[in-house]
Amino acid sequence: MSMLLQAILWCLLLITVMLVCGASIIYMLRKVLGAAHLRIGPNTLGPAGILQLFPDVIKLLTKEDRHPNLSDKGLYCLAPIIVFTPMLVAFAFIPFGSGIVAADVNMGVMMILAFLTLVPLGIFAAGWSSHSKYALIGAVRSVGAAITYEVPLLLSVLPPIMMAGSMNLSDIVLTQANSVWFIVPALPSAIIFFLCAQMETNQAPFDMTEAESELVAGFSTEYSAMRFGFIFLTEFAGNFVMAALAATLFLGGWTLPGVDPHSMGIFAPMVLVIKSYLIIFLFMMIRGNFSRYRVDQMAQLGWKKLIPLTLLWTMVFAIGMRSFQLLSASGALGGIFGLGG
């Protein structure tokens, strides 16, 4: 029974983390985009407008939960849950510190990415079942985008896995603590992962699914009240998941260079969160400074550039890593890094 209790507690904790992340990222987005656009952002309620979120939540909770007449009732109600659940599950695999991980599984990286592939299906369900042209166009774009970024995203996580010799995220973090951050040897992978993460989370310049100037709000046009709240929250929680995954795979996760990973203690989660928010800040600056891609441009970027590039780079990287290992094993390089499984 204690296992069950532990699982329930972890679930509650993860939901709390997800809510707090969503809330803080929404506030951060308003402030950062405001600064990027030379305006102030929320500034009335509380110091620097920090309490603005509470009326927003109250508004979402008290609005009428309306259903379009011609909507597909079952899928329409289910869609926000299909969007929300995989994102919540993805939180469980992120290591926040030594042993602070809800599900320390062998396949951590792949589990997160596998669950995140289900999110576009939820988005599609939302758009299709709404029976609205705007929502349907947004939904089709979302599925089209999914088949564009999924392959390069999966390929770009291979170099860290190869270097750590494991798909366990805790192992990947510890390998980086004992050698170098993986962004140093695998910078191109990190850049491609960052790009695909932006596509995955529907961030501008890749936010065609909810391009508000042409599609009202894309797939979520017909949603209101807390159903919309779920979709909205998932989107921002997705930012955190992808940023935390990027920090874990390429920036040493919860460790710091020169600090013994076992003496990090309570600071470990803080280090990961700070790293993630720095990456999210980068996401937001790009969002504020670049104009939106067209659908065909994004498809061409994915299929014609990113996929061949990642395939080639992964091959080059594998050959390079192997020859480096062989050379350092024979003593030619003195075994500086000690990478490899």
Binding site: M107, L121, G341
Partner: protein, 186 residues
């Protein structure tokens, strides 16, 4: 006890969703039942300790196959109504299904080791798993054959949606006929 409950629950979900996937008239609903079925199968394999298989199942069947199916449906169908196709029952399909069932059942019965097989308690290291998978006398061929699944899914999705306009018209015609009949009765 707990594992038996989870096993039965997942098995129940798999059966129900598979039946609904085949019998639903709406292609999109069918695709989502297929998704549920794939997720439940992944859950079952995960629960049996086959982590790699579960993740592959989730990534390929639940993620890629469903996305490809829906994408194909959306490329071929434009409107909400025409996503409905008539469910056609045929004897040849029944025979094919029974033959497949017999094959699987024979495979299970002919392998008595399955009954005593237990889940691995220690997770297998990735390097060991890869070496085993791609060993000279290993499973490389089966692995490569399995990669055809996406092609099969794409072809199946195209087949699933072919002639859809004719079917849609037929359904609407039959609906109109029915409505006219009811009008006459009234």
């Amino acid at each position: 006890m707990l594992s038996a409950i989870v096993f039965c629950l997942l098995g129940f979900v798999i059966l129900i969703s598979a039946a609904n996937c085949v019998s639903s008239e709406n292609v999109i609903h069918g695709a989502y039942w297929l998704l549920l079925c794939a997720v439940a199968v992944a859950g079952m394999t995960w629960f049996m300790g086959a982590e790699y298989l579960a993740v592959t199942q989730l990534l390929l069947y639940a993620g890629a196959v469903s996305v490809l199916t829906i994408f194909t449906v959306m490329v071929t169908h434009r409107s909400h109504e025409s996503a409905c196709t008539e469910v056609k029952l045929s004897w040849s399909a029944l025979i094919l299904a029974l033959a497949f069932f017999a094959l699987i059942a024979y495979g299970v019965i002919a392998t008595p080791e399955l009954a005593t097989l237990t889940a691995a308690h220690e997770p297998i290291p990735l390097a060991e798993f890869g070496a085993e998978l791609f060993a000279v006398d290993g499973h490389a061929f089966a692995f490569e054959i399995a990669s055809l699944v996406l092609l099969v899914a794409l072809v199946a999705a195209v087949w699933w949606t072919k002639d859809s306009d004719l079917d849609g018209e037929r359904i609407q015609k039959s609906k109109r006929k029915k409505a006219a009949k009811e009008d006459n009765h009234a």
